[in-house]
Amino acid sequence: MGAITNLDALALNLVGGDTVAPQRIWEMVSDRIVSGTAPTTSAPVATLPGRLTSLWMNATFPAGVSATPGAVAAPTSATAGSWPFTDPGGGRKLWLAGLSATVGNYSASANTAGMLILYDRLLHISGLSGTSTSAQTVGGSLTRYTDGVGNWIMGEVYTQIGATARNLTCSYTNSAASPASGRTSMQTVIGGTSNREANRAFIVNLGQGDTGVSAVASATIGVSTGTAGDWGINVIHPLCWVPIRYPGVLGIRDCVVTLPPVVEIKTGACLAWLWLPTSTPAPHMMTTAVLVER
């Protein structure tokens, strides 16, 4: 139970002949950003080549977020902003068999290439300040990938912070067999041009020897960026990459006939997207995924 054993099993499942029919889910992520009181959206902030963009605050179909995360929480598949699906039952598991996506742009009428990254958003908090110099509490507890293996710390800007670049460090618990708390991450730049704008995301590199994070105690800037803004810390587990190789071309991630192979979608996963662009037009995404339950 809980595996796609061979192509015979896959073929049977995909045509609906297995215990549970596959889920074929769709999502449209517009390039407009949810801001203020519903139904207000704002034009997207231009992305930057080589800089991660979080699509968490984008207006979507099915419906997405209506506000920033606020107090620390462990989002699930029921959290507004998550790409919804039906959890597996009967002791079975859910597997991502294929993913197809397009990226366009409705604000500048332009195409762009880049990389889409599907991840499971395990924990998030917003309301951190770009001017606070003390350790800002993150806290919370993971409900998936609780051993921390393969989890990343990701910073995310919701309202632009200051123009002065500073060094961010996080205090965290790693993913060792006997997890060590009080670990300190490598310094990551926050604030300043390219690292302060809304929807920017950045990965906080872990301390030497660490390969995952099971908890984040706090985040410290140390010196003010100049503007409080609003930013936060997430713990994420990356799941799948979808390359958009040329502007306007469909990106296909076939998890069956290519490597890496099928990916498990955990029960309650909060599926969300990052975009790593090669140019500035903000992404307007259309995507579909096939989830196999075995």
């Binding site: 061979n6 192509l7 015979d8 896959l10 073929a11 995909l14 045509v15 609906g16 002949g17 596959p22 074929r24 769709w26 449209m28 517009s30 407009r32 949810v34 519903a38 139904p39 207000t40 959206t41 034009a43 984008n58 207006a59 979507t60 179909f61 099915p62 419906a63 997405g64 977020v65 209506s66 507004a80 919804p84 068999a97 294929g98 993913l99 197809s100 397009t102 366009g104 742009n105 409705y106 604000s107 009428s109 332009a110 195409n111 040329y246 502007p247 306007g248 071309v249 469909l250 296909i252 991630r253 076939d254 998890c255 069956v256 006939v257 037009p281 259309m286 579909t288 096939v290 196999v292």
Partner: protein
């Protein structure tokens, strides 16, 4: 034909129950924006006017197949030019067009009502997307708008308001532009479109409307000189779209540049 293993599947792809040829000629394209090929030759549809249900018989639908039981698209095959474009790259989306209307004015900032029409298929509304569709050029001034709709709850809730979408100018001005709409928090589909309200004028009245559709397939385009055959397991990332009885199948294309794409090929349909 029962498909129980890989061999059965390969056999079904090689000899499907039906092959449906389709061909769409040139259209108006804008880079980065989806275009509806509904009003594009061949099998040319028209601006619908009053809100109406769409079906297999609607002018503009791909309907060269026997509309019997639910069919499944196992593959798309080249026949001398599959999904041809005149430039490298591009993407297409096959949708089941459910309801549509036109006649809305892109200079008005008052609520414009849409006649009440129920979904003919996917009647729960789950997974049904709403989009603005432009039939005649609207203005170059970009503004925003909202859609008032009934959602896909067990008992649909009326008078819900979508998140603002952009319209006009770079956000969709040309005829055939189609602008998908983000729904209000908690909603996963639309059962009825009620009205559209623009924030400001786009500058030109033009003609636009609201289309409700169920997305079925995302496919890549091949250069005109290339041929391509894809199936559910190889090349379609496990997509296998079910085509309901009386479906109004139409294509959307994602503009690569302003060069108009063309598209020809065969859908391989199998009953199981």
């Amino acid at each position: 034909m029962a498909i129980t293993n890989l061999a059965d599947y390969k056999s079904a792809v090689a000899t499907p129950h039906q092959g449906v040829a389709f061909s769409k000629g040139t259209s108006t394209a804008r880079a980065g924006i989806w275009s509806s090929l509904f009003t594009v030759a061949f099998a040319t549809g028209a601006a619908p006017g009053a809100n109406a249900q769409c079906s297999y018989s609607t002018a503009g639908a791909i309907n060269g197949y026997i509309d019997a039981a639910t069919l499944n698209i196992l593959g798309v095959e080249s026949s001398g030019g599959f999904l041809s474009t005149t430039q490298t790259g591009g993407a297409f989306m096959l949708v089941d067009r459910l309801t549509h209307c036109s006649g809305l004015n892109a200079t008005l900032n008052t609520e414009q009502a849409i006649g009440s029409v129920s979904l003919p298929r996917y009647t729960s509304g789950v997974g049904v997307m709403a989009a603005i569709e432009v039939y005649t050029l609207i203005g170059g001034s970009t503004t925003t708008g909202t859609l008032k709709y009934n959602n896909a709850a067990g008992t649909p809730v009326a008078n819900l308001v979508s998140y603002q979408f952009g319209i006009g100018g770079n956000s969709g001005q040309q005829a055939q532009s189609i602008i998908p709409i983000g729904l209000a928090s908690g909603d996963n589909g639309v059962t009825k479109a009620q009205s559209v309200t623009l924030t400001a004028t786009t500058g030109t009245a033009g003609d636009f409307g609201v289309t409700l559709f169920k997305p079925l397939l995302l496919l890549n385009a091949a250069p005109f000189t290339d041929t391509k055959t894809v199936d559910m397991i190889v090349g379609m990332a496990c997509q296998c779209a079910a085509v309901q009885t009386s479906a109004c199948l139409t294509w959307l294309s994602l503009g690569y540049t302003t060069t108009a794409p063309s598209i020809t090929g065969v859908l391989k349909l199998v009953e199981f």
